[in-house]
């Protein structure tokens, strides 16, 4: 099994690195368990930050400076904040009860599947993980930092995927705009074209609505008169 090789490898390890790795690994695993096991999504998000920063430390350990920085900025700085923002905005920090769970079977199955995946990967990889060709694309020079290498690679070998990310980001922006737009106008009977009313339009003022909580219903007269139907998004 792997242990012999590992012990041999571990014996040569310089202490600080091993300590850094150990601490970061513990933080990563505990954070991940926290995400899965805590009831409140807010606590989960905070645990996720721990994991992400732990991974960033591991990136630093592996001389991936740029990625470590980006990991903290993008993941911990933007993605988790977005999570927290949505939770706070929508007020969805409701706790999930683990006791009266209708999906108990799925839970057990999930844990078994996860254990099997882990065991499968570990057994398959029992001795040697890294079997690939070395420096197939471009070696890491480690001259100043890996930013140079990375930039070189991104703008040459990976130029096409780099450009494809532009399409990805456009898609995400268009999608987010479409999804997050307030449903301001509802189709009117007999109307062939329904011009969209921009969100800032006076017609969308919530004060016009019948005081309904959330799911408001407006009515259209039988003749199909143009009366806008609005939708409140209550906080």
């Amino acid at each position: 099994m792997m242990s012999v090789n590992f012990l041999a490898a571990v014996a040569h390890v310089a202490v600080p690195d091993a300590v850094t790795f150990a601490v970061a690994a513990v933080v990563v695993v505990l954070g991940a368990i926290g995400v899965v096991a805590t009831k409140s999504p807010i606590h989960g998000a905070l645990c996720l930050v721990g994991t992400l920063i732990g991974v960033a430390v591991l990136f630093l350990e592996e001389q991936a400076d740029f990625l470590a920085a980006v990991q903290v900025i993008v993941y911990a700085g933007a993605i988790v904040v977005l999570f927290l923002f949505v939770m706070m905005l929508m007020g969805v920090d409701r706790e999930e009860s683990f006791k009266d769970d209708p999906m108990k079977v799925q839970r057990v199955v999930g844990i078994i599947v996860g254990a099997c995946v882990l065991a499968g990967v570990l057994i398959l990889a029992n001795v040697q993980w890294v079997t690939g060709a070395h420096s197939a694309n471009a070696p890491l020079t480690g001259r100043v930092s890996n930013v140079n290498d990375l930039a070189n690679s991104v703008f040459t070998v990976y130029l096409l995927p780099f450009e494809a990310t532009a399409a990805l980001l456009i898609t995400a922006v268009v999608g987010a705009v479409l999804l997050a737009r307030r449903r301001s106008v509802v189709p009117l009977v007999g109307m062939t074209e329904s011009p969209e009313v921009p969100p800032g339009s006076p017609e969308v003022s919530p004060t016009e609505l019948p005081g309904d909580d959330g799911g408001s219903v407006a009515e259209v007269a039988p003749g199909g008169e143009d009366k806008d139907q609005n939708e409140v998004v209550s906080q």
Binding site: V130, T156, V157, L160, V217
Partner: protein, 605 residues
């Protein structure tokens, strides 16, 4: 770390062959142009122009793919890789591009009618479908796992939004959520598979992987196997192979029907394109490992897809399961893993996409306003109400069932021939069994549409799926509302309430021919049935002054379908269906052209 002078690195930017990425450039550039145009004109642009320009751009994509096709299949030319081996320009990628472009064209034609009915103007649907198509094209031509992953993400992210684009329907949002969570899950699995493959082969480039594996025999190939398995899992989710198919019926049922038409063909085509590229051209050395797995997946997909389709009462769910079983057929070509199998799979994919788009376009028309009449009962007697629509649907079903002289038959024939070539007789037998089962539910729907007693039963237009509270109620607009409520016949086993009211006895509104608002004469237009569809999930129907109604009657959660739209309004959808039917019959009778096309669509590696 020394902080010396940073050496000036000569950045050798690869030569960019713009012709090679022309289809993608047209799609992405077109999407941006449409978006910019709509913002600059302040949305005063007539909505139909979005559809027209999308259709035009789809044709331009098709044209550019054809140009590349003739370029690489010409005498002095051959397939090549472009942009530092990022993409492969070969017959295979151009066939996938043409498939995607054709689907985009058909969906762009049929979408405006739907969007008008749902009151969703604006360019977003078209922009997203173009971006999604660009992702599919990228995936079909990817020669690098990272390019493939990005293509997959562009495709999927746009599809998640398209699934949820009907903001008024709760089911649409739920479909988007389900699709999104499972899609993101499968993407993460796929990515981990890429990482393991990278570690075990040292490259993400498909050609380099194949090259490395051909030259080196890995003593420990466990990581590579795990990577391949995880990538297969990721693709399996995307194309809805059986253990990973659970999302597909729900997403198909809840999503807006044009989005379903698009995703059912484009996502499947792109997913299978990626699957074929990764397994057939990058990992051929592992064939003995992946072939049995694909065999099992194929058998499970074939059987589960057709068996579960039989018990469905919602047409969209039925078509979802039928598309699962089609995925099983497409997989047979891969299990055979010979050139004729790949050609058969491509032929199947190509013809299936027309069948899927055609069927879902008919479904969208039958569903009518609110996109909710999807029960089998809505199709009862369709031939009387809309003979052409029923004929088109019947043709689509016949073709999907694999009756001769349609493309569906030939698709099944070619993959089965490939399977017998590869001596997988058991698989071929199971496939035939599955198609017999499948024929049952296709023909059942066909018989339902042409049932002689179709006129007797008038299907109430009110088919409302359950709300968040899950308490779907249905009422009928008659003077005896209580009777109607009590007597509503529950046909549906799936918590979906389906009031079937017998004409004349329970249903007091004379000449009720509801359920067909699009092409029908506005028989009920004068009856004063007002439509009230709220923005929320609680759909309230209020019948004002109906001929048989006593005063005002509030029936919760009814969609009363207004029949004010004139017959034949939806020209785009009609053209789209006509094209699908023509392709299905024409290439069913004269198959040689298309099968040659599929046979020439070879992989570069």
């Amino acid at each position: 770390m020394n902080l010396g002078v940073v050496p000036t690195l000569a950045l050798v930017v690869p030569k960019i062959n713009y012709w090679a990425i022309l289809p993608d450039l047209i799609l992405i550039g077109g999407a941006l142009a449409v978006l910019a145009l709509s913002s600059l004109t302040g949305r005063r642009f007539p909505a139909i122009w979005y559809s027209v320009s999308t259709a035009f751009l789809a044709l331009a994509t098709l044209g550019s793919a054809l140009y590349l096709w003739f370029d690489i299949t010409g005498k002095h030319h051959h397939a090549f890789v472009a942009i530092d081996a990022g993409i492969a320009v070969d017959g295979f990628s151009q066939l996938i591009t043409m498939l995607v472009a054709a689907t985009l064209f058909l969906v762009a034609l049929s979408a405006p009618g739907y969007l008008r009915r749902e009151g969703a103007g604006g360019p977003e649907f078209y922009v997203l479908s173009m971006l999604s198509a660009s992702g599919a094209v990228l995936m079909g031509s990817a020669n690098d796992l990272i390019v493939m992953f990005l293509g997959l993400e562009v495709l999927s992210i746009a599809l998640y939004v398209m699934a949820g684009s009907n903001l008024k329907a709760i089911a649409s949002g739920e479909a988007a959520l389900k699709y999104f969570i499972l899609g993101a899950f499968s993407s993460a699995i796929f990515l981990y598979g890429i990482a393991l493959t990278y570690g075990s082969t040292g490259s993400t480039n498909l050609a380099s992987i194949a090259n490395y594996l051909a030259k080196n025999l890995l003593e420990h190939n466990g990581v590579l196997l795990a990577g391949a398995a995880l990538m297969l899992l990721g693709f399996g989710f995307k194309v809805a192979l059986v253990p990973f198919h659970a999302w597909s019926p729900d997403v198909y049922q809840g999503s807006p029907t044009p989005s379903v038409a698009f995703m059912s063909s484009v996502a499947k085509a792109a997913g299978f394109a990626g699957l074929i590229r990764v397994f057939y051209s990058a990992l051929p050395t592992l064939r003995l490992d992946w072939q049995p797995v694909l065999w099992v997946l194929s058998v499970a997909t074939l059987l589960v897809g057709s068996v579960l389709a039989v018990v469905q009462t919602d047409v969209k769910r039925m078509l979802a399961y039928s598309s699962i079983s089609h995925a099983g057929f497409i997989l047979i070509g891969l299990v055979a893993a010979n050139p004729s199998g790949i050609a058969g799979s491509l032929y199947y994919l190509f013809t299936y996409s027309f069948l899927a788009v055609g069927s879902f376009t008919v479904v969208a028309l039958v569903a009518g306003k609110g996109d909710s009449n999807h029960s089998l009962a809505s199709y009862r007697g369709l031939s009387k109400r809309h003979p052409y629509l029923a004929a088109a649907m019947a043709l689509m079903l016949i073709a999907q069932a694999g009756i001769p002289f349609t493309t569906g038959f030939l698709g099944k024939f070619y993959v089965l021939a490939a399977a017998t070539d590869a001596h997988s007789y058991a698989l071929a037998l199971i496939a035939i069994l599955s198609s017999v089962i499948a024929a049952f539910f296709y023909l059942r729907l066909g018989v339902l549409m042409y049932a002689p007693d179709g006129g007797e039963l008038a299907v109430a237009p009110a088919v409302a799926s359950g709300s968040a509270s899950g308490s779907a109620q249905a009422g009928s607009a008659s003077s005896a509302a209580a009777t109607a409520l009590a007597g509503t016949e529950l046909l549906d086993a799936e918590d979906e309430l389906l009031p079937v009211t017998r004409k004349g006895s329970w249903f007091a509104v004379p000449d009720d021919r509801g359920g067909d608002p699009i092409l029908d004469d506005p028989a009920m237009a004068g009856s004063g049935v007002a439509l009230v569809v709220s923005g929320d999930e609680a759909i309230s129907g209020e019948v004002v002054n109906g001929p048989g109604a006593v005063g005002e009657l509030r029936a919760p959660e009814i969609i009363d379908v207004p029949s004010s739209e004139k017959a034949g309004r939806d020209i785009g959808a009609a053209i789209s269906i006509a094209i699908c039917c023509t392709v299905t019959v024409f290439f069913g009778v004269f198959p040689s052209m298309l099968i040659d096309f599929a046979k020439q669509a070879k992989l570069l590696f």
